[in-house]
Amino acid sequence: MQQQSGIFDHFRETWPLLILIIGIAVIVAVIEAVGDRIISQTLTEALIRLIVVVGLYIFIGNSGILSFGHIAFMMIGAYATAWQTMEPMSKDIFIPGLPTFLLENSFHWLPSTIIAGLLSALAALITGIALMRLSGIAASIATFAMFMSLYSFYLQWSTWTAGQSSLVGIQVTTTPWVALGVAVASMVGAFIYSRSRFGLALRSSREDEVAAKAAGVNVTMQRLIAFTISAFFVGMAGGLYGHFLGLLTVDTFYLGTTFITLSMLVVGGMQSLAGAVIGVTVMSFLIEFLRKSESGFTFGDVTVGLPANSSEVGLGVVMLLILIFRPSGLTRGLEIHWPFRPKLKATEVTQRQS
């Protein structure tokens, strides 16, 4: 490796990430330029989901283990942010169980969101020590049991979470640009992680667990690292989501959200970052289009709309079609590489191989 790699080589190597960031940024800029307030809200929600799905990709894509548990980390992040940022007065009313330090203060959303992400990561680290020893379907089910356990706990933990009623009075601070910023950060994080030695080690265990172990990869440890990192981003997404909705209910973080985010990842192709991003983009446009068709298009004086909940039915059908015709996702698990192959001289090729 004696030849210096030029700046263009770096560019070409980070291209799979850059193209995704550029693509998302362009979509956000265009929609923000032409859209109204409602479209802008839809956009924010889609960007938050993008963070969740990228977080899911960090674990699922690299480890090959389907996790049904990550929405629990989103929930942890969302409530942890609210504990810090809400006004003391609302805290007294809704969540009087908080320690006095939190009850009497209220903090800025940005550091709070990051701390909430760290708390989610900690939760993932602790639960992961037990869960990550498992493989395959048992691991997926165990993440699911963890999810149900935490969900039922938050549902009943009313002095901290307002339980089955909703926690209102959270400032709305998440704009599309804020969500975009965190989404880009999560994409960069995911890209760096999957190219690091940790990511590569985990990917090797995804391809062949026994061979990876034989080659000296501590599979449990690598899974735990990915689980923790992904929970960090998913937790931050939860924080942003609370500050997007302005209120929180435990029910928001249940099977519906789990299903939508997982299917976005699977539809896009769960083994690549491009799959995560494209899955979210395609599905978000589809959901929005179907919602619009349900509320009806107006032709002159006539409004033609579909019956209630038909958009969900349509979404399910389209997803099934994608799964049937592209079982490994729209991207087939590949990244989008720089389209022009570098022209190498024969000597350079031999140098690179040495």
């Binding site: 389907l66 037990a130 869960l131 020893r133 498992l134 493989s135 395959g136 379907i137 048992a138 089910i141 165990a142 699911f144 049991a145 963890m146 149900m148 356990s149 935490l150 039922s152 706990f153 009943q156 026994v210 099977l255 299903f259 997982l262 299917s263 699977v266 769960m270 019956p307 209630a308 909940n309 038909s310 969900e312 039915v313 979404l315 399910g316 059908v317 997803m319 099934l320 799964l323 049937i324 079982p327 490994s328």
Partner: protein
């Protein structure tokens, strides 16, 4: 003593629901390696079939008003048809996909069914009175009153399990199905017709789901588009802790989950009782960590290198 007996009956009847649903899920996992998330929605469809075609808030029973001799086969038939349609439209085209894709596919199928139910019947729960006098208590031994229905649930479950065992052990198709669950590719090479066996498994799974729907509606008297989901979740947990791919395991898992739920419900101090599900799922994680292969290890469950 009397109290202990009451708890035992409660645990057995709840465990019966889980065991029946778990058998339906386990059967499909055996031959298809499919974790069928839509199984709960088969149960829901079976329950809603009672009130077709009335979509009013005060549900009127059409099929549900028939004589039991006619009612039961109709409901069973409807659910089997729905299950077979799912097989043709979803599971068969996904036959060669990865387990994760299949799982998401069944999730999507369940999502479609739930939203179809809302589209047709609306999202509000409905009250139905089907054979509600079965909920009356009977005295079985001195001082112990249990609802008749719980005894019926337990006996129906036992009867269905015996029938299933006889079918699997004594009939040609049962043997084919067990062979397919053991080693699908090898079974095909030996002349087992894959699609026929799978269709049969799907149909039996639908039949088990319809049994759960009927028993469940009689017990709760309520229709809700999400009613099958919690049953499916617990059944699903039951199949896993029992040992995926093992039918005995599914039954053992179902009764274990039922027993643990009832025991926690009975013996937890009252301020912790609301957290029952937290403990149930924590118990599941514990079992998985200690015995990742499940309580009953099936021969096909060992991962091959």
């Amino acid at each position: 003593m009397a109290y202990g007996f009451q708890v035992l009956i409660d645990a057995l009847s709840l465990g019966s629901f889980y065991a029946l649903a778990a058998l339906g899920i386990g059967l499909l996992f055996g031959v298809l390696r499919l974790i069928n998330f839509a199984h709960g929605d088969f149960i829901t469809i079976g329950a809603y079939a009672l009130i077709v075609p009335s979509a009013a808030t005060q549900a009127t029973l059409l099929i549900g008003g028939f004589h039991p001799l006619f009612l039961i086969p109709s409901i069973v038939g409807i659910v089997i048809v729905v299950a077979l349609i799912s097989e043709f439209a979803v599971f068969r085209p996904l036959r060669n996909a990865s387990p994760a894709t299949l799982m998401i596919g069944s999730f999507a199928l369940g999502y479609i069914m739930q939203n179809l139910v809302i589209m047709i019947f609306g999202g509000r729960p409905k009250a139905v009175g089907l054979w509600s006098d079965l909920n009356l208590g009977v005295q079985i031994i001195e001082g112990v009153q249990v609802p008749q229905l719980q005894l019926i649930i337990i006996s129906v479950t036992l009867a269905l399990m015996v029938l299933l065992v006889v079918f699997l052990k004594r009939t040609k198709y049962g043997v084919h199905m067990r062979a397919a669950a053991e080693d699908f590719r090898m079974a095909r090479m030996l002349g087992v017709q894959a699609n026929r066996v799978i269709m049969l498994a799907v149909a039996i799974s639908g039949m088990l789901a319809s049994a759960v729907s009927l028993l469940f509606v009689v017990q709760t008297g309520i229709l809700d588009f999400r009613m099958g989901v919690p049953l499916m979740l617990f059944a699903f947990i039951a199949t896993v802790i029992g040992g995926m791919g093992s039918l005995v395991g599914a039954v053992v898992g179902g009764f274990t989950v039922g027993a643990v739920s009832i025991l926690l419900q009975t013996f937890l101090p009252s301020e912790l009782r609301v957290f029952r599900d937290v403990f149930v799922f924590a118990f599941v994680i514990l079992v998985l960590v200690l015995r990742p292969q499940g309580l009953v290890v099936s021969r096909s469950a060992k991962e091959r290198v």
